[in-house]
């Protein structure tokens, strides 16, 4: 669950990235966060992951109040999130299996847990035969699937996908989005940041639109209907 209550963010250089954002995303929801470049989408992601803190207002993520979260609690908050990036951010020198083990090891998972969870997740994203492949041997769509598998492997409550289809062709983009929809149907909350109008319009999901740091629309389906 995400709650942003009258959130403002002003950077040290004086840029006002967010101006009084109010947003609530409940458990199990699927929401697109859309807006043009520089609208404040990345700032919201950074606020949600605890990379930066709000200048004003309250930010609550999966029960953690990020306004007064202690430094040692941030890793625990992040374990409730799975994050997917536009550029995949896979470790090139590790295999697919290695990348997933790496993600599980960081949260202290045992070998037995890894052996049980990784095949399940690879099967879920359609990469059950690619465990031994290296990222540079795979297509962009497959690499993004690995990134999705990595985001899922620690069983997070919510996935935040930052432009997950930005580096993919339309067909692969659709596949990835369909996969995210399927994961959401299994109970994982999904927040997908994108500026791909066509893709958003194909899915009848909640769309939160921001522009110049202000929320301009929050409704079901469609990109902008202002």
């Amino acid at each position: 669950m995400i709650r942003l209550i009258d959130v403002h963010k002003e950077y040290d250089n004086g840029t006002k990235a967010l101006k009084g954002i109010n947003l609530r995303i409940d458990d199990g929801e699927f929401a697109f966060l859309v807006g043009p470049s520089g609208s404040g989408k990345s700032t919201i992601i950074k606020l949600l992951t605890g990379e930066i803190s709000a200048s004003q207002g309250r930010v609550i993520v999966n029960g953690y109040n990020l306004n007064n979260i202690r430094r040692w609690q941030i890793p625990h908050m992040r374990r409730t999130l799975g994050i997917i990036f536009q550029d995949f951010r896979l470790i090139e020198k590790k295999t697919v299996q290695g990348n997933l083990e790496f993600a599980m090891r960081t949260v202290g998972a045992s070998g037995r847990e890894m052996r049980k969870r990784i095949p399940y997740v690879l099967d879920l994203v359609g990469l059950d035969s690619k465990g031994d492949a290296y990222p540079n041997e795979m297509s962009g769509g497959e690499q993004q699937r690995v990134a999705i598998a990595r985001a899922l492997v620690n069983n997070p409550k919510m996935i935040i996908a930052d432009e997950p289809t930005g580096n993919l062709d339309p067909r692969r983009s659709l596949e990835i989005m369909t996969l995210l929809e399927r994961i959401n149907a299994m109970g994982t909350t999904m927040l997908v940041v994108t500026h791909e109008r066509d893709l958003v319009n194909r899915f009848s999901k909640r769309v939160v639109a921001i522009k110049d740091g202000e929320l301009i629309r929050d409704g079901q389906g469609g990109y902008y209907r202002a």
Binding site: R71, W72, P75, R78, R79, I83, I91, T106, V107, S110
Partner: protein, 295 residues
């Protein structure tokens, strides 16, 4: 820390060392150089201190007694001297004994055989406890009534104290400077390793890794480099010390400059090297990684 993680940290530490081998080699060399310089000065300080202790054990001066003093007055004077601060053993030497001792040193010279006892004075041989306060003690004895003169090699004692203090101070200054240099080098090595792995670190942090989980492999890497440096430095130090000690003996070094046997010192040297190497490695890495944890 779970055993599972400990194995992972050690594996990652070793992997990292070999992934930037040249920088690791440079770091080990720097630690070796620093420890050897540090060790050499410390060993010099230990030896000078040892020589000084030896000198202190033998150190005494003579206080000459007024010729008119009676036996009972001399006994009272001895008691007064014993009560003074920094005075150890006090021995009374009669003029006859003094003459006999003197003649022992000049047996071949018949010239002194008929020397009357009266030429020499009764005296007290006084042992000083702390050589650093030698002059002060001599003056305190000389100020007592009944002591008419003294003979003391104060310059030698004070010279030794000055040398010991200078070597000790220099050793500490060098230890400080070289420890700082070593820390800097290790920090740079770790910073390079962390920079090369900054993407991995960012991913770890985003997956929910704690600072400790990210930091430990780097600390282990620093520890391994520090310990490797310490072991190499120990054997080199041993070789250098033995060579210098041998050279001093060969060149007819006086008793004053005979170095202690390394066998008496090796355990202490090894422990200090290992502790210093480990501390420099772990601290240097720990400081260097901090910046990369701000994700």
């Amino acid at each position: 820390m779970r055993r599972f993680n400990l194995g992972y940290f050690i594996k990652e530490g070793f992997t990292s060392i070999f992934s930037h081998g040249l920088m690791s080699f440079a770091a080990v060399c720097m630690i070796v150089a620093c420890l050897i310089i540090m060790g050499s000065f410390s060993l010099l300080a230990v030896n000078v201190d040892g020589m000084l202790s030896q000198l202190e054990e033998e150190n005494e001066f003579l206080a000459f007694i007024d010729e008119d003093y009676t036996e009972s007055q001399i006994s009272a004077l001895m008691e007064q001297v014993r009560r003074l601060d920094n005075v150890g053993e006090v021995k009374y030497i009669t003029r006859a004994q003094a003459k006999a001792d003197y003649l022992k040193g000049h047996e071949t010279e018949g010239l002194y055989v008929n020397l009357p006892d009266e030429v020499l004075r009764d005296r007290l041989s006084i042992h000083v406890v702390d050589l650093e306060r030698f002059t002060e003690t001599v003056e305190a004895v000389y100020a007592l009534p009944g002591v008419v003169n003294y003979r003391a090699a104060g310059e030698v004692a004070e010279g030794f104290v000055a040398v010991r203090n200078a070597v000790t101070a220099l050793a500490w200054v060098l230890i400080g400077i070289l420890a700082a240099v070593s820390l800097f080098i290790i920090s740079n090595t770790t910073r390079l390793a962390a920079f090369a792995r900054r993407e991995e670190i960012a991913i770890m942090k985003m997956c929910g890794a704690t600072d400790g989980f990210v930091r430990w492999p780097f600390i282990v890497e620093g520890l391994i480099l520090g310990l490797m440096g310490a072991i190499v430095a120990f054997f080199l130090q041993w070789a250098v010390y033995t060579a210098v000690s041998g050279a001093l003996l060969k060149n007819g070094g006086s008793n004053l400059f005979t170095l202690m046997d390394f066998k008496l010192l090796w355990k202490r040297v090894l422990m200090i090297f290992l502790a210093s190497g480990a501390a420099i490695g772990a601290l240097g890495s720990g400081f260097a990684i901090r910046k990369f944890l701000q994700v």
